[in-house]
C-alpha cells in the first residue's frame, strides 16, 4: 500500500520545526505503524537523508516508549492501543496522515517525534514510592488485600507513562498519569503511611510542568491502557482529605 505522510521534523529542541511530506511506497498491511516508519526510514537512509526519529522499545504495547499523534489522536484511532500495536490494515491505500509529537510545555521536543518525558519522572520522584523494611522476605499472605482493591490497584498500575493523556488533554494536564500513580499505591496497605503526603507532593509536581484537570475526559479516551478518570476523582478526594485531616508525625 502507498501512503502520504506529513511528518513533523525538528532537528533539536531549539529548532523551529516544520512538516515535511513523504510518499511511502510498498508498505504492507501486516506492518505495524512503527514498522511502516522503519520501512520509510530505510528508503530515506538509502537516499542519504536523515531518518525520522521516533521512540520505541518493546513494540508489544507494554513499555510506554512509543507514541505520537496520528491525525490529531494520540497513538492513532484504535481504542486502548499503542502505536506499535496499530497495524497498517486499519488504513486504506492512498491515505494521508499527519504525524506530530506530543505537544506540551512539560514535554519539550528532543527531535522530530521524540519528546523528553523527564517531567513524569519528577512526578514519580516527588511521591510515587513506598517505604518498606528490607531484608528477609516477608510472609506472602501476612498482608491481606481485598480482591476488589487488588483489581483496582492493578488497573491503575497498568499505566505505562507514555504521555498520551497529556497529549490529548486540552489543558496539557498530566492528571490521569498522576492519578494512576497515586491510586495504585493508595489502594494497597503498603501505600498507606505516605498516602496523604504523596498526593500533595505529586500534585504539586504535576502542577509545575502541566496544566490543570477540567474533567474533559479526553485522557481516558486516548489512554492505550484505558485508565479511567475515576482515578482522578479518587486523587481529588485524597487531596481534599490531605488538606483537612488530622496532622500526623509525617507532616
Amino acid at each position: 500500500m502507498n501512503l502520504t505522510l506529513h511528518v513533523w521534523r525538528q532537528n533539536g529542541p531549539a529548532d523551529e520545526g516544520r512538516f515535511v511530506t513523504y510518499r511511502v511506497e510498498g508498505a504492507s498491511a501486516h506492518m505495524s505503524f512503527l514498522e511502516m516508519l522503519d520501512h520509510l526510514n530505510e528508503q530515506l537512509i538509502k537516499k542519504g537523508e536523515d531518518p525520522i526519529a521516533f521512540d520505541s522499545d518493546c513494540r508489544e504495547g507494554i513499555c510506554g516508549m512509543c507514541g505520537f499523534m496520528i491525525n490529531g489522536e494520540p497513538h492513532g484511532p484504535l481504542p486502548a492501543t499503542t502505536v506499535c500495536q496499530l497495524h497498517m490494515r486499519h488504513y486504506q491505500d492512498g491515505d494521508e496522515l499527519w504525524l506530530e509529537p506530543w505537544r506540551a510545555a512539560g514535554f519539550p521536543v528532543i527531535k522530530d517525534l521524540v519528546v523528553d518525558r523527564s517531567a513524569f519522572d519528577r512526578i514519580i520522584a516527588a511521591g510515587g514510592y513506598i517505604s518498606v523494611r528490607t531484608g528477609s522476605a516477608p510472609e506472602a499472605n501476612s498482608t491481606r488485600v481485598p480482591k476488589i482493591n487488588a483489581d483496582a490497584a492493578m488497573d491503575a498500575a497498568e499505566c505505562i507513562a507514555c504521555g498520551a493523556c497529556v497529549a490529548a488533554c486540552p489543558n496539557a494536564s498530566a492528571m490521569l498519569f498522576t492519578a494512576a500513580k497515586v491510586a495504585h499505591l493508595a489502594l494497597l496497605p503498603q501505600g498507606q503511611p505516605e498516602r496523604y503526603l504523596r498526593v500533595v507532593e505529586m500534585v504539586n509536581q504535576q502542577d509545575a510542568d502541566f496544566g490543570h484537570c477540567t474533567n474533559h475526559g479526553a485522557c481516558q479516551n486516548a489512554c492505550p491502557k484505558a485508565i479511567s478518570t475515576d482515578y482522578i476523582a479518587m486523587l481529588n478526594g485524597d487531596l481534599r482529605r490531605a488538606k483537612f485531616r488530622r496532622p500526623t508525625d509525617l507532616d
Binding site: 490529531g72 506530530e100 494536564s173 484537570c213 477540567t214 479526553a218 479516551n221 482522578i232 487531596l239
Partner: protein
Amino acid sequence: MRRVLSLWDSSVGKKIVMAVTGLILILFVLGHAFGNLKVYQGREAFNHYAEGLRAFGAPLLAPSQALWLVRIVLIVSVVLHIWAGVQLNLRSRAMRPRAYRKYQHLEFAFASRTMFWGGLLIFAFVTYHLLDFTFGPANPSFVRSDPYHNFVASFQVPWIAGAYILAMIPLGFHLYHGFWSMLQTLGANNPRYNVYRRPTALVLAWAIFLVNISFPLAVQLGFVR
C-alpha cells in the same frame, strides 16, 4: 488552617474551591428558578413572594438581613469561582505553547469545552440581569415596589426576551458539565452510584433551561401580562 488555605496553591485545591462555590451557585439557580414560578400565580403572589424574600427570617432577623447574608455568600462564591477559573485557565493555556496542526476532540461531552467562554457570557448576562430587575436602569419602566410589572415590562420587548432565552444556552451547558465535574472534583466517586452522575447533570441542566426560558416565552405568548 494553613493547610486548608494551601488548597489555593494546588490546581486540584483551586478546583475544589470552584466545585464548592459552584455547588452554592447551583443551589441558588435552582431556588431562583423555583421561586420565580410564582409569577404564574399572578401579580399578587409574585410580589408577595418578592417581599417575602426581604422579610425572611423575621422576627429573629431584621428586614433584608437574611437576604444580605445570602447575597454576601453568593458574591464571595462568584468572585472565588471566577478568580480560580481564570487563573487556572490562563496557566493551562500556557502549558501548550504550540498548537497541534491536527487535533481530534476526544472529550466525553462538548459542554466541557464551553466552560471558560460560556462562564464569561453567563457573568455578562448576570450583570445585565441585575441592572434589569434589581437596580433598574436597564429595565424599560422600572418600579421598585412592583417586581411583577418590571418582569412583564422587560420580557414584553422581543429582543430582551430573545437575549434572555439565548443566555440560557451557555448556562445549560455550564450546569451540565459543572455539576458532573463538581462531583468528580469533590471525589464523589462510588462505582455503585457513578452511573447516575451524568443523567442527574442532564436533568438538572434541562430543568433549569426549560423553567427559565418559560418566563420570557410566557410574556411573549401573552400568558403572563
